[in-house]
Symmetry: C2
Subunit: 190 residues, 2 copies
């Protein structure tokens, strides 16, 4: 259950908010929820077909001039029930794989400078995304609309997660760089 079918539920949730095509779903992932969720076309399209067969969504072909025709999907009653069922189930902790941490474990094999460079790069990356999160937060503070949005506390909590996570990782990178430098210095002293 931990490793099953997450794409399906992501699609159900997105289509429940607003019917749309596979392309729309992908766009939705890449913009709104990109920092904690991703999907790609090669998976979305076949899963949509399967979901239609299972009766959790229905397809309507939409034709308009000057544009390719779209397959617009709508969530069904059955689909909505499946979605709610999933939402009600507790999240099972899925084992993570943190490549940076794994590399650190074996880092004695390479020069400290290399590791420090890498930590600096990672830190910069988190700083960039933190800036972006902060920008979105400001935009949100300046908009009255946003605060009346039904899902606002959930949406904003996710943003706060992104901010807090980035802040923590930046601090950790700094702390780790200092630790490595310090230990390298006293090692040379001996």
């Amino acid at each position: 259950m931990a490793n099953v079918n997450k794409t399906r539920f992501a699609i159900l949730g997105i289509l429940n908010n607003m019917p749309g095509s596979g392309y729309d779903i992908k766009k939705n992932c890449d913009t709104g929820i990109a920092y904690f969720w991703n999907e790609n076309f090669g998976h979305i399209y076949p899963v949509l077909k399967q979901m239609e067969r299972d009766g959790v969504i229905t397809k309507k072909e939409e034709k308009s001039e000057g544009r390719p025709s779209r397959n617009v999907y709508y969530i069904t009653e059955k689909g909505k029930n499946e979605l709610i069922d999933w939402l009600m189930r507790p999240v099972e902790p899925s084992p993570q794989r943190l490549e940076l941490q794994l590399k650190l474990t074996f880092a004695k094999l390479i020069p400290v400078e290399k590791t420090i460079e890498e930590l600096e790069r990672v830190k910069e990356r988190h700083k960039k995304s933190l800036e972006e999160f902060r920008r979105v937060e400001q935009e949100f503070f300046n908009s009255e609309d946003a605060q009346n949005y039904e899902s606002y506390p959930y949406w904003y909590s996710n943003l706060r997660y992104g901010i807090g996570d980035a802040e923590f990782r930046i601090r950790w990178c700094e702390e780790t760089i200092e630790r490595i430098k310090f230990h390298n210095a006293i090692k040379k002293d001996k």
Copy 2:
């Protein structure tokens, strides 16, 4: 490159520290680095075979009385080079999938109480692992040996990562629960 062959490098790193069997490798993952890395037998054994064919490790059969015989693997020069090569390469950011955050995005479909229960559960889980991390940290402070261990700054940084991450997530759960409660209260007021 982002999604390729991580098991292979994990195995190389572990065998570089100490030769061992597939069983040993699994144990190593489940104890030392479990909170940021996982492997399972169904993957380890076939990958070991492939790595032997590629000449990055060699096998020696070890027989002893009263125990099943073990296939003990040793890293080769070629394997060590491959490991160092991987360590020197920058980590590419791999898109994450945070199920809790995805669920929060669609949480308006279920009663707030359910979401709060879930956040409490998650918070408790992180509190438990934080306790464990703190215990390990204390154990480490009380041991002089550990601090002379060559990889100590790396190992300790990883522990600090676990601690900081757990602390952040606990705070976030608390903050999120408060936010949801608050918004639910003013919604009822209207």
